[in-house]
């Protein structure tokens, strides 16, 4: 097995040992859809949610929360720690590069996100008869771009933060406004048009729109996908430019 394979396997094991991460990535979205799904009448189309089925809306919301918490808080926290502890430095004197560990971690977290999305789809389908995302190709693309844009933003936070603590702090500072503007706390349908516009330009906002639309059977608007792709490219390039492997 290659160094990448070994590292991905080990980091996968470490991820599974982290109970808080498991609860956040799998427990939270499932609890969310079940909790809301049990509200009587919530499985009908909701006027205030552009006629989306309530449970389906919550499922899309759960998916978005998982992507945001992994990308915006998980990525900078863990990578900030690995840098500060010298885990990256130590790999720098082996035949395996520290970049390999970074890529292995991103792969593990992306796999966890995809698995969590699959679990959410299965739970709402089995428990509440919510159909799987109708425009499945667009849905997969939306989730993929959501992962890319949010992980890249988290990477950039890890790149510019001087310490593990500040990396985690920046992550949380990105997380809450993103959640707010994306319409996680209250639907974008209830927002003023200015706020909605601003929200559309955030990676999480466009991810949630694209995921909701493709789940309902609407082709997501190209600008949502474009905004996510732009975030992924710009934040990713800046992170690659400024990432420090070594604590200053």
């Amino acid at each position: 097995m290659t160094g990448f394979g070994r590292l991905a396997l080990v980091e996968g094991k470490l991820f599974v040992r982290e109970k808080a991460a498991l609860i956040g990535v799998f427990g939270l979205p499932v609890a969310l859809v079940i909790g809301f799904g049990l509200i009587p009448g919530f499985s009908d189309p909701q006027k205030g949610l552009s006629d989306q089925i309530g449970t389906e809306y919550i499922a899309a919301l759960g998916v978005a929360i998982v992507l945001a918490s992994l990308g915006l808080t998980g990525v900078p926290m863990v990578l900030g720690q690995y840098r500060e502890r010298g885990v990256l430095r130590r790999l720098g004197v082996t035949p395996v590069r520290p970049l390999t560990l970074l890529l292995a971690d991103l792969t593990v977290w992306a796999a966890a996100a995809v698995l969590s999305v699959a679990v959410v789809i299965a739970v709402v389908r089995i428990a509440f008869h919510v159909p799987a995302p109708v425009r499945s190709g667009w849905f997969i693309l939306a989730v993929g771009l959501g992962i890319a844009s949010l992980f890249a933003t988290g990477l950039l936070a890890a790149a510019v933060a001087p310490t593990a603590r500040s990396a985690a702090g920046i992550g949380w500072l990105l997380f809450f406004p993103n959640m707010f503007l994306a319409g996680i706390y209250f639907p974008t349908e209830e927002m003023s048009s200015t706020m909605r516009q601003v929200g559309n330009f955030t990676p999480l906002g466009s991810a949630l729109h694209a995921i909701r639309d493709s789940w309902m059977g609407i082709d997501p608007r190209p600008e949502y996908l474009g905004i996510m792709a732009a975030w992924a490219l710009v934040a990713g390039a800046l992170a690659a430019r400024f990432f420090r492997w070594d604590q200053a």
Binding site: V10, K13, R85, R89, T94, D246
Partner: protein
């Protein structure tokens, strides 16, 4: 024999200030080479330039014939490194860490054997965060050796180890050298360097202040040493002052201190015997690397 490590004019600057200032040395195969100096002398920076962790600003470095600037990957297959103040992932178990690092190398050592040799067999399933400081240190030494390296760099080898474990670690490092591995030891402990190293470079403010065997450093530092005793009968200090090699005689309460060079101690004991003055609490402060260090650098390690 071709040197394993050749360093010429190695310089590393930070913000225009040379932290490592044009140092040159070479290390022969199978040697334990010490780099000794106070904190901030540039020891770690210098060694990290050799390991390929930092890029030097000037000078030449060849390790096993490879330049760490360009031959990093091939070099890292053949060297082992223990870094100062690193940690691993909290939930990574000892066995997993060794197995993982062993998998990085083309011809790794048997990690189970390293586990035994470094006293970690009982901790194989323990998470890194649950290890004591000494166990963590021993794990990092084992990780430095797991790739079957030809050269090992050890930075503050015995940091965090208790006295018993230090001595055991020295014995094990001597065994590592005996198996043909070249060892570069960065340390600020005199006793460690004196015990282990074949040759030592004393680094001060980024420069090599002296480079020799520990015994050679002690000799070249020359200087005086002292004997101290309590005479059991009245003694005229003047009778000792005239003896060959004696430079000073002093009295501190009941104790007499004689300072001198060369074989002055024999002359003093002979004179005492001639005068039939028995002495108690006789101590001769032998010259050590410690006093040589002070003589060579003009300061103690702590300052």
């Amino acid at each position: 024999m071709t040197p394993v490590i050749e360093v010429t004019g190695l310089t590393k600057r930070y913000g225009g200030k040379a932290v490592v200032d044009g140092i040159s040395f070479h290390v022969e195969p199978g040697e334990i080479f010490g780099i000794l100096g106070p904190n901030g002398a540039g020891k770690t920076t210098a060694v990290e330039c050799l390991e390929g962790l930092r890029r030097r600003d000037a000078g030449q470095v060849r390790i096993l014939g490879l330049d760490p600037k360009t031959g990093g990957h091939r070099l890292h297959q053949r060297i082992g490194v223990q870094l100062q103040e690193t940690r691993l992932q909290d939930r990574l178990k000892v066995r997993e860490a060794l197995e993982l690092y062993a998998s990085f190398y083309p011809d790794p050592a048997d990690w189970r054997e390293l586990l035994d040799r470094w006293g970690l067999a009982g901790k194989a399933s323990t998470s890194f965060s649950k290890l004591s400081g000494g166990q963590k240190q021993r794990l990092f030494i084992a990780l430095a050796l797991v790739g079957n390296p030809e050269v090992v760099f050890l930075d503050e080898l015995t940091a965090g180890l208790d006295p018993g474990a230090r001595r055991a670690t020295w014995d094990l490092i001597a065994q590592v050298r005996d198996s043909g591995v070249t060892v570069v030891l960065v340390s600020h402990f005199m006793d460690e360097v004196e015990e282990l190293c074949d040759r030592v470079a004393i680094l001060e403010r980024g420069r090599i202040a002296a480079l020799d065997t520990p015994a050679g450093l002690v000799d070249s530092a020359g200087g005086e040493y002292r004997m101290r005793f309590r005479p059991m009968a009245p003694l005229q200090e003047r009778s000792l002052t005239a003896l060959p090699g004696v430079t000073a005689v002093g009295r501190h309460g009941a104790h007499v201190t004689v300072t001198g060079t060369g074989d002055f101690a024999s002359a003093v004991t002979a004179e005492l015997a001639r005068r039939q003055v028995a002495v108690a609490d006789l101590r001769i402060e032998g010259r050590s690397l410690d006093s040589a260090y002070v003589a060579l650098t003009g300061r103690t390690m702590d300052t």
